[in-house]
Symmetry: C2
Subunit: 476 residues, 2 copies
Amino acid sequence: MAQKKYERLAAELERQIASNLVKPGERLSSVRELSRVKRVGLNTVVRALGLLEDRGLIVSRPQSGFYVLGPRASSGVTAPAMRLTLPKEVQVPDLVSTLFESAKDRQVLPLGAACLDAELYPLAAINRATRRVVREQPRLVGGYALPPGDFEYRRQVSRRLEKFGTFVAPAELVATGGAMESLGLALRATCSPGDTVLIESPQYFGILQALQHLRLKVVEVPSHPVEGVQLEQVEEALRRGGVSAGLFTPNFSNPLGTLMSDEKKAALVALFARHGVPLIEDDIYAELSFQGLRPRPLKAFDTRGGVLTCASFSKTVSPGLKVGWLAPGRYLPRVQALQLASTMGGSPLSQRVMASYLASREYERNLRELRLHCSVQVERFSRFILERFPEGTRTSRPQGGFVLWVELPRQVDSVELFRRALEEGLSFSPGTLFSTRELYRNYLRLNCGNRWSPRLEQGLARLARLVATMAKARPS
Amino acid sequence: MAQKKYERLAAELERQIASNLVKPGERLSSVRELSRVKRVGLNTVVRALGLLEDRGLIVSRPQSGFYVLGPRASSGVTAPAMRLTLPKEVQVPDLVSTLFESAKDRQVLPLGAACLDAELYPLAAINRATRRVVREQPRLVGGYALPPGDFEYRRQVSRRLEKFGTFVAPAELVATGGAMESLGLALRATCSPGDTVLIESPQYFGILQALQHLRLKVVEVPSHPVEGVQLEQVEEALRRGGVSAGLFTPNFSNPLGTLMSDEKKAALVALFARHGVPLIEDDIYAELSFQGLRPRPLKAFDTRGGVLTCASFSKTVSPGLKVGWLAPGRYLPRVQALQLASTMGGSPLSQRVMASYLASREYERNLRELRLHCSVQVERFSRFILERFPEGTRTSRPQGGFVLWVELPRQVDSVELFRRALEEGLSFSPGTLFSTRELYRNYLRLNCGNRWSPRLEQGLARLARLVATMAKARPS
């Protein structure tokens, strides 16, 4: 469906607002100016501005012009008061299957699983690279990519990390089939079944599932919505003992989207090193920073090989290529043996295709667009929700990635909401999935990865109505 | 390197011999006849026959002609006397890493890992299919292939099984990244760490490694070199109790290459069903039958969903595409949850490419060639070994696949032999890797998957000399 002229203009202005080209409180160019600069009619400008006003991004002040609105003051979720927990087995509710089933259903609006609109990935470039690699290296699929995997791919990953101040040699990297395989290998290399892993809360349910199926217990450290985990609590947990590994997402945690400062990263790494406990990090969202610079992984602060960094290109280049990596520090030999015994290594074709793409200039260019898309989308979702959802609704303020953590009025049960929403053809991730405790019943995570569309907007409006109904129906 | 005319003729005659077109004891056509029929000069025929004579395939009888030789009477390995063992933890020697390292080294003759010459796979067709799929379905790599995986791929696997009398609906299949992932999922779905799995001995060390890393114990049932496992011993082990799953390779076991009869398969399935114990089968070599017909999997005899069939196309179509499947019976929901939590599913591109190839006529045509190649190669290796290795050497008589199990004189330690061979640039799999017991010290497994070449022949001759030296040096 072709976008109309005024919609295109609105989208352009919206990107400018989201990228802080025009800041909250500032005045937009006048209708006449915009018409001249953008080379469109006055009517088009008026309709575009009307659209932005409807979306709560700008406000018209008579005799003066249009002003950019800031996020509402109520934004920012509250963290439930929470102490360190005792080691506990993980049991992710069956609801997750329903969630993933709904992700396959094209009739359902995909706000559940964290995935981007397929059109945002550089698929044409990947397909081109695939055809080229197949033509130039026809024997590639005739052999295995035994652990640690294709050298050229590992070299490209190493170069990319080096570009942002983290040196990990190709020989210290293992190619994997994605971040989940990386995490599984890291956990199996450091823990035995029955062991305890220190994690932050709320935590992505996919990781909780991985922990559950590896029969690992968890101690949850509460994560502050902006600051992230409190080091004091991490230290307390380590001092208590019995922790076999830590698992954190310092760069744009999922679902909160918080970014850990470099100082805190250094302190966290030092803390784990002091206690001799390995530290696993999920670095999958690092490239999707709203500020444009890829933040450094914990690995950058690791001097003893105790940090295992897990990542993939599923959120930035292609989920279907299934290529990730793991920098396992001193656990390298064990990780290689584990991978050999569980998959014999990944796909040589996928790894070489990704290497070829990473070596191209398009990678950086596409990342820039992707980052902008993510920041605009998250902002758009956030504004829409704060505008249309009932009083008492709050949203996280992610610094990267493309998910939003939403706190609903206390009386709204997000599991019940999920069932009702699914009946109306839309999906999201209920908060209860993000902890082993009953802490996030009135929270939910929204995938903001899809392009904004009338269908999406109608879906969110439907969700807003459902929440409003439930907020009224069940007073706390 | 282009093959000379007489070498091509020799290869053709050799295939006729291996395929039993001319049987042992029968006379070959005369030199003159061959010259006429094959349209080559008399000299070419004479040189070709000389080559076959050198290889021990034919013998010249003065005044009469050339006769096909049968395998030597001493062929057929002996099984070490062995009782059922008690549950034991698995600890595969580190030697395996050396073995896999050597597989990456192009200077080393690859007789260790079981892999075919890359040129034997239908790589051109796979690459063509890849280019076509990428062109026709450019958005495929933009999404996940969430468990159970691409429908079209599962449909093609189902059709293939149906063709040989085994009906497994597409909905009962899970696409995987290869047989090792299938086996891992099957084991994790049926067992917990610390549990015991009933396996046959000798057993492929890759499976032993998988068991080790999943922290499973094993009870080994001795496998007769021709008959396979003894049902009485299986029954005894099940009656003892404490077994959480069985794992067998009824179709061309690795390393023995034995084929279980349909009657025995039915009885084995019934036995496990009676004891309520799940039965996992590794069906990866089933298509490589020397008799041409794909034997049925245990699954064909399963009425209660207790059989989990694991397979892949890594040995028949492409190792690099990384596509396998798992028919997990009643463990389907658990397998899907496990796969979701460990990899989020396989590659949608690889699965679709494989589906496209499986739907083509080339698949069956290439399999026919591959089967012939395997039978010819195994026969050639076997003859060479029985001819050149010292007295007391015996070889298995595989009915499919492309590995040969070799029994050396009792005093030869295959681990020591391995170290010496590696120094001389050739690799094989020492027998000690195939059991948790010290049973196969004077055995080794040879990969016969590569094309015969002067380099290969020289390598085997070198190995023969090493064995001879060790057989003399250490009298028992």
